[in-house]
Amino acid sequence: MADWQQRGAAVVSPVILTTGMRATAVIVGPRSHPKGAAIVFPGSAKGEVKTVPLAEAVVLLHPAHAIDIYAMQERLHGDAGLPRPAAPELGA
C-alpha cells in the first residue's frame, strides 16, 4: 500500500515500478489536468530525473498502485464526492 505524505503543495508516495525500479508518485492537481499526477524516476544519465504524466506511466505500474494513485488524486482534487484523506492515511 502507498505511503502518502504531504510535501508542500504536492502529495507524494514511493512506488516500485513493474521493472523493479524505485520511483515516486506525485499528485499536484485533478485528473482533468494532464500533469495533475505524475511518476518521477531516475533517467539514464547520472542525476537525471524523468517526470512522466500518470496516464502515460500507468503501464509501468502494478494495478494496485495505479488504483491507489488515481483514488488518492480523486480524493484530493476530484469532484466525485469521495472522502478527503486525513491522518494517518496522509502523513505530514
Partner: protein, 286 residues
C-alpha cells in the same frame, strides 16, 4: 486473544439463530427459477412484504436504475424491469433492510463495493456473472460474514479491530487468529445455508484467499477482492482509516485486471459514486 481459535462448525453450532434468508427473497428465487412463473406472481410475492416492497419501489425510482417513468407499484416495477433485475433488486432491498441497523460505514462499504464490482465485471466480462445488477449484489454481500461476527461475537469482533489497529494485520487474518475462521468463510457458509447460487458462495468465500475455492470461481472471487480494495482505497472502507487492505498476487492474476485498464475503470467508478450515497439513503429509510 481471549478465545482459542475454533472451527467454523463449532461457531455455527453456537449461532443457533443464524440469520435466515427472508421468506420473500427465498420465494422470489424459487419463482425466477421456475419457467412456469409469471411476472404477476413475482409482483404479488414482493407486495406481501411491506418493508421490502417499499425499498423495491424506492430502488426502482432511483437514478441508479434510471427509469424514465415514475414507478408506483411493485407489479409495474416487475413489468418494466423484468424478472432478473427484480430478483436482484428485491435481494438488494432485503439486504438493505437487514443492514439498516448495522454500522453506517459497513453499509456504505457494502454499497461502494457493489458499485465497484459492477464496474469491474462490466470491463472484464466475467463468464459467471450474468448482469451488472448481479455483480452489484456480489459486492453488497461480500462481507456478510462480518454481520454474524459483529452480532454473535461482539467481544471477539472488538479484539479483531484492536489487532488490526495495533498490529497492522489484515482484517481477515486477525479474525482467523481470534475466532479461528474469517468473515469470508463465514459469509460463504451463510450464503450456502441460504441456498444462494454456487458462484456467489464461492466468490464470497474466496475474496480474501483463493485456496479452497474451485478454480471455476477464481475470476469472480478475484474481481470481488479487487472491488473491495478499490472501495477501500477510495476512502469507502468499512472500518479503520488506514486499514491494511491488500489483494494477493493470485487474485490480481485471476482477475484479469491490468494497469492499462485502471484509468478507464476509475473514471467509470467515480461516475457511480453519487449512486452510493443515494442507495445508502434508500437503505437507511425504514
Amino acid at each position: 486473544m481471549t478465545t482459542p481459535p475454533r472451527d467454523i462448525d463449532s461457531i455455527l453450532d453456537d449461532v443457533v439463530t443464524l440469520p435466515s434468508l427472508p421468506t420473500t427473497v427465498a420465494r422470489i428465487v424459487e419463482l425466477v427459477n421456475d419457467p412456469q412463473c409469471s411476472l404477476l406472481d413475482v409482483g404479488k410475492v414482493v407486495a406481501t412484504d411491506p418493508a421490502i416492497a417499499l425499498k423495491t419501489l424506492r430502488l426502482a425510482n432511483s437514478a441508479y436504475y434510471g427509469l424514465r417513468q415514475k414507478v408506483t407499484s411493485v407489479e409495474q416495477a416487475v413489468v418494466l424491469l423484468g424478472l432478473k433485475v427484480i430478483k436482484n433488486m428485491v435481494f438488494t432491498a432485503t439486504v438493505f433492510e437487514t443492514l439498516r441497523t448495522e454500522m453506517g460505514a459497513f453499509l456504505q462499504h457494502s454499497v461502494a463495493t457493489g458499485m465497484a464490482m459492477r464496474v469491474l465485471a462490466e470491463s472484464s466480462r466475467a463468464a459467471t456473472l450474468s448482469s451488472p445488477d448481479e455483480a452489484f449484489v456480489y459486492g453488497l454481500l461480500h462481507d456478510v460474514g462480518k454481520i454474524v461476527f459483529e452480532q454473535f461475537f461482539p467481544k471477539e469482533f472488538k479484539l479483531v479491530a484492536k489487532a488490526v489497529q495495533e498490529d497492522g494485520a489484515q482484517w481477515y487474518e486477525a479474525e482467523r487468529a481470534v475466532l479461528g475462521v474469517d468473515h469470508a468463510q463465514m459469509g460463504a457458509r451463510l450464503a450456502q445455508n441460504w441456498k444462494l447460487p454456487d458462484d456467489l458462495v464461492h466468490a464470497i468465500g474466496g475474496h480474501h484467499d483463493l485456496a479452497g475455492t474451485d478454480a471455476r470461481y477464481h475470476q469472480v472471487a478475484a474481481l470481488l477482492s479487487a472491488a473491495d480494495f478499490l472501495a477501500c482505497r477510495c476512502g469507502l472502507g468499512a472500518h479503520l482509516p488506514k486499514q491494511n487492505v491488500t489483494v494477493s498476487e493470485a487474485h490480481w492474476a485471476a482477475s484479469g485486471i491490468t494497469a492499462q485498464m485502471v484509468p478507464q475503470l476509475m473514471e467509470r467508478y467515480f461516475e457511480t459514486i453519487p449512486h452510493v450515497g443515494e442507495l445508502v439513503a434508500i437503505a437507511a429509510v425504514s
